[in-house]
Symmetry: C2
Subunit: 467 residues, 2 copies
């Protein structure tokens, strides 16, 4: 799962990946994970994703690592196994290839012992699902070169992650030390029959767990000291000992877990997990806090790298495609009407981006604002629909841009909805209508001229209630 998650993150960020996994079902698992990741990224961002990198399953470790920039080992947590794999990868890879291990607890100094170039090795410990959670703990061993850590920090940041350099080499690094403490206490509570696994989960997810995704407000160490400092001396916990994992305890936990899952499949739970994580990441992005700041930085990079709007001869432009996410459904079981306008507005944004309205243009104070919209709802969208919008310029002058959008379900000729919009170019420093800059104006004129030969849509110029 960790290896497949890495592959998905790299491929969706435009990196070519070669994957070696001797397990017979590796191809199926990685295809499933990649499909989940694609679906999550579609909902995660409207920034233009790069063209996907290639994903090639290969038959040997040597074939996987030859000539690559970065090796990411994600084998089971057995020291000897990992040590052998890393030494073999080191022998087959180029001298300047970075070699990383996904281990969640083994020390890098132990792992790099058999390597010829230990200075190029470090731990890069991710969290599942790797394609959505931004954290990657970086930890070098005694023989790791400092510039290998720096290089890894840049590489992982470029695929939307938050590298956290663990400065002191300890077993479990930081995150799993904390996780293990929590779970160990939970294990005692189950063993002593104080609580079931479901009750323990509820004690977290309805309360403090809601805050741990951002640690805002009075979370953090200072508050903890105030609230718990004196209580630390109280004999609350049984942390002085490790509960014995007897067959009875393992069985009790497994039974309670199965009752909680209630027959939902693991894949289904993973998709639910991804949908919720996507919304959390978007919520945090609005405030540019925690993982939302990482997402915002990644999106800004994508926007700069983004390709200009496609052109389509003298036919209407096809500027915007996406899938209708599940949370667009309203209490009637339908897609809320404001989402139709959102789709059209996204197409307008794509048009303006293609015409050259970029960050720099906005920064000097020019932009188009929508002043009027006429929407026609013809047929209904459903959750999961793949849709696209075509865009035709009906007219323009130095300030105005008159466009007509049509929304289609992919592969169907009948439109779902139409939108006619009048945009006005505004000098945002004064808030008044003002002519577009010359270079923008020329591109608008050129597109208007090209679209003049496209038949005028039947619904253009229509008022509400007219036939």
């Amino acid at each position: 799962m960790i290896g497949a998650g890495w592959a998905a993150r790299f491929v969706l960020n435009g990196c070519d990946v070669r994957l070696y996994d001797p397990k017979p079902d590796a191809a199926r698992v990685v295809a499933e994970v990649l499909e989940n990741a694609r679906s999550a990224y579609e909902q995660l961002t409207l920034a233009p994703l790069p063209a996907e990198g290639s994903l090639t399953l290969v038959d040997s470790l040597e074939e996987a690592v030859e000539g690559v920039d970065l090796v990411q080992e994600s084998a089971p947590e057995r020291l000897e196994l990992k040590r052998d794999l890393l030494a073999a990868a080191d022998r087959a890879a180029d001298p300047d290839t970075l070699v990383c291990s996904s281990t969640s607890g083994l020390r890098p100094t132990e792992l790099q012992r058999e390597m010829r170039r230990p200075e190029r090795f470090l731990v890069a410990h991710p969290f599942n699902p790797v394609y959505l959670l931004p954290l990657v703990e970086l930890c070098g061993g005694a023989r790791t070169a400092p510039d290998a850590v720096e290089q890894a920090r840049n590489a992982f940041a470029s695929v939307g992650m938050h590298p956290l350099v663990v400065r002191t080499e300890i077993d479990g690094f930081l995150a799993d030390r904390l996780l293990e403490a929590l779970w160990r206490e939970a294990l005692w509570l189950v063993r002593d029959e104080v609580a079931t696994t479901a009750e323990i989960d509820d004690a977290i997810r309805y309360g403090a767990g809601l805050r741990w995704a951002f640690m805002g407000g009075e979370d953090g160490m200072r508050h903890f000291l105030r609230q718990f400092g004196p209580a630390l001396a109280w004999p609350w916990t049984k942390l002085t000992d490790v509960p014995e994992l007897t067959d009875e305890l393992v069985e009790a936990i497994a039974t309670q877990s199965d009752e909680q899952a209630g027959g939902t499949s693991v894949r289904e739970l993973e998709r639910l997990r991804d949908r919720v994580l996507v919304r959390f990441l978007q919520a945090l992005r609005v405030e540019e806090t925690g993982a939302g700041a990482t997402l915002a930085a990644w999106e800004r990079g994508l926007l700069v790298a983004g390709s200009p709007a496609e052109t389509n001869g003298d036919a209407p432009l096809e500027l915007h495609r996406r899938r209708v996410p599940a949370d667009w459904i309203d209490y009637n079981g339908h897609v809320h009407e404001s989402r139709y306008l959102q789709l059209f507005a996204e197409a307008t944004d794509a048009l303006l981006g293609g015409l050259g309205i970029d960050r720099e243009y906005l920064a000097v104070g020019g932009s188009y604002f929508t002043v009027e919209t006429h929407l026609s709802h013809l047929r209904q969208l459903e959750a999961g629909d793949r849709v696209h919008v075509t865009t035709q310029v009906l007219g323009s002058d130095e300030k105005r841009l008159h466009v007509f959008h049509v929304l289609f379900r992919d592969g169907e000729p009948e439109p779902l909805a139409t939108a006619e919009q009048m945009l006005l170019h505004v000098d945002t420093t004064t808030g008044r209508a003002a002519p577009a800059r010359d270079d923008l104006r020329r591109r608008v004129e050129e597109l208007t001229r090209r679209h003049a030969s496209v038949p005028r849509p039947e619904r253009a110029g229509r008022a509400v209630g007219s036939r």
Copy 2:
């Protein structure tokens, strides 16, 4: 803070509250918390909140508890103090009043020792911010009556909480046992200078912390056993001992925490916390999982209790008011155009609700769908604006309903935007236009007749680009 949070949750759920707090700044603190809670609830739900309960600050404990249904003690965590307060409350309250304590760790059997009616006492331990986090741990002592626990469960569920009954009386109940284990490990990491408080926070909030709000996918005990079971025997943690809270350690933590806060005030951090929590709760509601299921259940209760749409003589109806939330701002720094349509659609929903389209009507297969909208954008909304929408019926027949909405900033005569909409009544079982049910049709006719004397809006009947 906890007492003020309780007051806010009860008041916003329509309960009258009497609050006794001897601290001189109590009135200011509770007013600030209530204002934050109001702002959070406005963004949390579109369901009709009940009229606020009253909030009265009183001068004695006796005055606070006399004749109330529920007493909620939230004094500092000192056993003697709480025991005395609870005994005094017990003497002054009615015999059937429920008496609860917010203690995060003291045992109910100890707390109820001096009470005359210990059977009516239990612990109800909430989490900050009390008005947003749904968890409340309920724990009775040796002399608590089982039906007091049941009664408390219903009372707290009715104000939107998730009561978790702790079946075995232990110090720290469930949540704080788990929290303390986590923080204790964190304290060791700071004391040993392995990591700073900021690095520890990052190890949580960029990774597993994002999942703890819902514990979806492979979270939970079974996965833990698979991943950590064998490692439990490894000597990772230093949990066998309590780190001594020396002056140096306290100072180091305080300094690191201040650096993290970077000069942001506590109130500001609290507002950020609330905004993020609101979005998390909404994200979870979409999936009706965890705290989102609690929110959905609470909203369904509010909808049933909701009042019918107000009428306004023969003038346009004023059906919808709200504040523009901060996350409606797009990359231009303005409110995204689709949000204007969302406001108008919310006004349409309020109109339809007022006309009698309720859950029962929808269930038998009738509803109005929007088929056309003409929007005019006249002036710009800003984040934080308080706005309202007026709604005028321009015409109707047995299937069609033609309305005109105008959006205003409160207190200003100039409109911000207008929307003309044509709605069509649909039989949702066939998906075809069909006449409205007789009782609905009569109310539509009555409203259309009343609005016939209202002047027709200047922008009605307008097509895009016409003058």
